[in-house]
């Protein structure tokens, strides 16, 4: 109930025009990967999914934002069923081990049969440009080679709720779900990540 209402509000505020270049209703396990410029990003993707897919899809979000405050925590855990990950190394968990712990949480979610929404740039871009991809996507693809990798292009969300702002301005945005990625995780890590990034950029230029 809350989930459907929230999805409707999100569609109203972001006026998202959704375009599918792959089967929206496919039952395949999927890893949606998108460019990142706003806290609204995963909500917009999640709202654009058909309800059946929405129920099995878990967004991956930064615990430093979504685990703070009762409302955010409730939304992240109970409504979106987000996989919350730590992005900043803490005193008792230095850099590489936080990354590994985050990756493990995502793989656990995939092993339970869920689909994931991930942002391989790792952080929000301020310019609207797509930055380089971190290696997480590669490791996920290697852990679950049968999951479909779906590039998702998000446009204009950096103008609706930019980094550093807390109130949205309602502009229209676009969400394009691309066809599943062809390259296999058997290839070299750098080539795989570059290929994944290009597949996302192609969705933007082809529009």
């Amino acid at each position: 109930m809350i989930a459907s209402a929230l999805a409707a509000v999100s569609r109203l505020i972001t006026g998202a025009v959704v375009e599918w270049r792959s089967d929206p209703h496919s039952a395949a396990q999927r890893i949606y990967f998108a460019n990142h410029s706003s806290h609204l990003d995963f909500i917009v993707i999640w709202s654009a999914l058909p309800p059946a897919q929405r129920r099995v899809t878990m967004p991956v979000a930064g615990g430093d934002y979504w685990d703070r405050g009762a409302l955010r925590r409730y939304l992240a855990r109970e409504v979106f069923h987000a996989v919350l990950i730590e992005r900043r190394p803490t005193a008792d968990a230095p850099g590489p081990s936080t990354a590994r712990a985050s990756l493990e949480r995502m793989i656990v979610a995939l092993n339970s049969g869920s689909s994931l929404i991930v942002f391989p740039e790792g952080t929000r871009s301020t310019s609207g440009e797509v930055g380089t991809f971190k290696s997480g996507l590669f490791h996920l693809a290697r852990a679950r080679p049968d999951a479909e990798l779906i590039p998702v292009s998000l446009e204009n969300l950096n103008r609706i709720l930019p980094k550093g702002e807390s109130l949205p301005v309602p502009m229209m945005s676009r969400v394009i779900f691309g066809p599943p990625l062809r390259s296999s995780p058997a290839e070299d890590k750098a080539a795989f990540l570059a290929g994944a990034r290009v597949s996302l950029l192609q969705l933007r230029s082809a529009s």
Partner: protein
């Protein structure tokens, strides 16, 4: 429904209903006649437009029949959607974010609230005086001079077209006209029917007889034949509707003529904006028509002039 006790309302509603039914039947016949690929695409678009018309007319008439508050809310919401389409195409930068938030969530509701409390003195100057100054101050304080003039001017003009101009449609409800008390909703229907029918008739005349283009650089679909045919037939329609207004037949003809000419200019101005920004439509909310702003472009520019002519010549 107390409206139905007024013969003018019964006439308006049955007339509008009849036009929609005839349009739907013609569309259905056309869809069985079209043979070429291009012809079929045109007919498909016409039928999508007619279906959308049913929905738009229904929403508009239900709001009008429900009363002043709902009519004001409807146009407030239309302004909100239109401004969203406009600002999406504006060259905004992150420094505009806070100012834009105010335009959407404070200025737009305030403008419509002023109509609701019938405070004409502030309604008519809020945006041209106070907001134009405050918007410039807020944008300047944000400290980003990159394309400053273009950004500030565009946001202001968007607010004028989408909120200030549009708000003059429900503002018709606040005019006090002697001998026409509690009937102003019919003025709103008169304006919307005449201006929108002028768009439709210009399209019909243009599609069937259009040869000489008026402004090929702006809009290839606007022709002299379409303009003259559409404006004259919509003016004739407005004249025939004189009995639902406080106007004499001659005055109704003049009001309709001015409104349709303003409407035509509005459509042309908004087409020039779309050309400048490199888009065909402002949005895709209304199937077959494009965005909200594509549908109301003519109304935006006709409403303030219609409002002030009535206020000058008829209001007590």
């Amino acid at each position: 429904m107390s409206l139905l006790r007024d013969p003018a309302w019964r006439g308006l509603l049955s007339g509008i209903g009849a036009v929609l039914v005839v349009a739907s039947v013609v569309g259905w016949i056309l869809s069985h006649r079209a043979t070429s690929v291009a012809g079929r695409a045109t007919v498909e678009n016409i039928n999508a437009r007619i279906r959308a018309w049913w929905v738009m007319v229904l929403i508009f008439l239900v709001a009008v029949a429900t009363g002043t508050t709902i009519s004001i809310l409807l146009f407030g919401f239309i302004s909100f959607l239109a401004l969203r389409e406009f600002v999406t195409l504006a060259p905004t930068r992150p420094a505009d974010h806070r100012a834009l938030f105010w335009l959407f969530f404070v200025v737009t509701p305030l403008q419509y609230y002023l109509i609701w409390i019938e405070w004409y003195g502030l309604f008519s100057i809020l945006i041209p005086v106070y907001i134009s100054i405050l918007l410039a101050i807020r944008t300047t304080l944000a400290g980003d001079t990159e394309r400053f003039l273009e950004r500030t001017a565009t946001n202001y003009w968007g607010l004028m077209i989408c909120v200030y101009f549009v708000s003059h449609v429900p503002a018709l409800l606040t005019l006090r006209i002697r001998g026409y008390e509690h009937q102003n909703a019919k003025l709103m229907v008169f304006l919307v029917v005449v201006v929108q029918m002028s768009d439709v008739l210009q399209y019909v005349w243009g599609k069937s007889l259009g040869r000489r283009r008026i402004a090929p650089a702006i809009s290839p679909n606007k022709t002299w034949e379409g303009l003259v045919g559409g404006v004259l037939s919509a003016t004739a329609l407005g004249t025939l509707l004189w009995w639902v207004t406080p106007f004499s037949p001659g005055a109704a003809a003049l009001m309709a003529l001015v409104s349709t000419l303003m409407g035509f200019a509005g459509g042309l101005i908004m087409s020039a904006i779309k050309r400048d920004r490199g888009v065909k439509d402002f949005g895709s909310l209304i199937a077959g028509h494009g965005g909200v702003l594509d549908r109301i472009d003519s109304l935006c520019f006709a409403a303030p002039v219609f409002f002030h002519l009535i206020r000058f010549f008829y209001a007590a």
